[in-house]
Symmetry: C2
């Protein structure tokens, strides 16, 4: 397999973007990434798009050729492929783009991720998100994604003494990071008091424990590393990729407090990259719920199992901490347009490794990691990137 | 890139399978392919699933880890990825499986395709299929997939003198082929009179000009060619793959009678395989409508543009003809569970090249081709397979 690098990034503002369509968002992110990379349209070999549920949310399946046309690539009839794995759709599209270039099939590939979630009402959103869980054994009986994560949070509290204050500390940290990111959906900081008094979504998870409903798109340009220097002085190498599955329904898991898919995906990515958790300078994890960030840093091996809550409380994962987590604001504050999220995580890590993350720059960041999960962890995908 | 072979195939019966769920169909096809290949579950590196719209049809996104669990692969936490491109979803999943093995990432990959379409009523089906066309510029204004293909048929008649009898001849041929395929949805032959007197779906297309609504699943096992002989004496090599896009909406095309995506995808696949149209012994094309088969054999270069209708009438594409097309019965008679179709095409070609196609066996078939399109041709994917 050939080495592959990211040579361009693009990202729309995330938010409830009432005045913008799915297409417009895709075009903006795609063109920004293409321009950032310095490639021409004719250089592009293929397009991969991560999207969870345009079929349900905007009545549009088959979005990859639509996006291809909108960004002006019809002339070359380039292959365009949509990849879906609920909220991990973006991460998986990025991985398929990596595999494509690594295989030698194409030298340059564009990977995009997009979701337009604000065009439908709360019931449709809740049902659509729940279609990422097990419809026959969970959603049909009324389980929603927040309620399933609430069960994980409860169990984490029982097993490890995790507190609601520790959950809230994740939200406070990520909103602080988001306030430093002009593309983030939420630009304001919150304090513990606000987080702890917000209404319940699914006990013990309150409003600020949950990522918002968002519109947005992200894109990156991938290039065979051997050709990357033709386009940029700062190619960011994809050193490791790992993807894994776990049982689809939560009730089939051995443990509610560990995501086996995250552990397996991380082990594969670390092995491929020849790295260990201690080597990572900056991390974007899937904090769709505050408990998810705590479990993620444990399952990725950043801290021991059960120590995720205290780690956040002690500032280990803050911007100025030893292992800065979700410097972008994370899903929590940057926003969570499902198909875009996994690609947006890569955009943030690339910005950090290139030293262009402005007010939220992690000093001397050389190696970064992204972690994206689908549903309640039926899918997990981990990538390790490094400056070369 | 490494050479890749198909070493196992599995296929459910296609039809309106009221008593079977999406999961059951996926399990049957997947396990049949795994058993056929002689591999063990632990040998499988990854799973790719083609599916168009489980989100709309069975309220279930994120199906890849669900299928992975159902076929018993959770223990290995293997990566499982869904690929979508409307009715080309299966063909694209097959291609992603090929790229994965060719890259060297995994030695053995299972590719499945599945769709469960009969659980919803005709309105939901029509709207869901139309979500594979351009929602904002076509479907919103009332265009359906059959009506868009009807326009192509009309224009083909104007430009090349194609007749309704030639369209009907495609249906008669494919129903005859289907009658020889025990897995086909329709087991009975039809004659010209029946085809020409059937009610209109979208003039000039009558009922027998249109593929049915179907449930079904298909699966294949892919293996690095260098390791294929460990499992089978008859590996079928994937010699060429080509994928392409065209404008998403029909009204943006230069021509309504040529699918640019088919031409581009075919050119790529032929180039990779080092073959030309005349080298192909057996062909599965995307006959979602009879006009689509006529356009496909023209755009693939089997006959000259405008000669597709006469070619069918003259028997060129019949089982005993020079270029047998859709020996399985095609989408028309085998049935068209959208996500399964592209994989089912590969299953048929592999059976033909292995000489196990029974009553519909093409004599001395050595090289085969599959052609799968999404929507009205916004996506096309072509594969060339050969006995080695």
């Amino acid at each position: 397999m050939r080495d592959v690098a990211v040579i361009g990034i693009g990202l729309t503002k995330f938010g409830e973007l009432w005045d913008r369509s799915f297409r417009e968002l895709g075009i903006e992110a795609g063109l920004e990434a293409i321009e950032d990379s310095g490639i021409a349209g004719k250089d592009i070999g293929a397009l991969y798009i991560g999207n969870m549920s345009a079929g349900r949310l905007i009545a549009q399946e088959h979005i990859a050729p639509m996006v291809s046309e909108q960004v002006g690539l019809t002339l070359g009839n380039i292959p365009a492929t949509r990849v879906e794995a609920a909220s991990a759709s973006g991460g998986l599209a990025f991985r398929q783009g990596f595999i494509d270039v690594a295989s030698g099939l194409h030298d340059i590939v564009v990977v995009g991720g997009a979701e337009k979630m604000s065009d439908v009402g709360p019931e449709v959103i809740t049902e659509t998100l729940a279609s990422g869980a097990d419809q026959e054994w969970e959603a049909f009986f009324g389980a929603t994604i927040p309620s399933l994560f609430a069960m994980m949070a409860r169990r984490h509290m029982v097993e490890f003494g995790t507190t609601v204050e520790q959950l809230a500390a994740v939200a406070v940290k990520n909103h602080k990071h988001g306030s430093l990111n002009p593309k983030a959906q939420f630009q304001g900081e919150i304090n513990m008091d606000v987080a702890l008094k917000a209404p319940f979504v699914a006990e013990p998870l309150r409003m600020f424990d949950c990522a918002p409903v968002s519109d947005g798109a992200a894109a990156v340009v991938l290039c065979a590393l051997e050709r990357a220097k033709d386009y940029t002085n700062q190619p960011i190498k994809i050193s490791g990729t790992g993807q894994a599955t776990d049982t689809f329904a939560l009730h089939d898991r051995k443990s509610l407090t560990t995501m086996a898919a995250t552990k397996a995906a991380a082990a594969r990515a670390f092995k491929m990259a020849g790295k260990k958790p201690g080597d990572i300078d900056v991390i974007e994890v899937h904090d769709s719920y505050t408990i998810a960030e705590i479990m993620a840093i444990e399952d990725l091996g950043i801290v021991d199992k059960g120590k995720g809550g205290p780690a956040v409380e002690e500032g280990l994962t803050a911007l100025e901490g030893e292992f800065p987590v979700n410097t972008s604001g994370g899903l929590k504050a940057r926003g969570h347009p499902h198909g875009a999220t996994g690609v947006a995580q890569v955009v943030e890590i690339v910005a950090q490794l290139k030293g262009i993350a402005d007010k939220r720059q992690v000093k001397d960041a050389k190696v970064g990691l992204t972690h994206n999960i689908g549903g309640t962890g039926g899918t997990a995908v981990v990538h390790i990137l490094e400056a070369v």
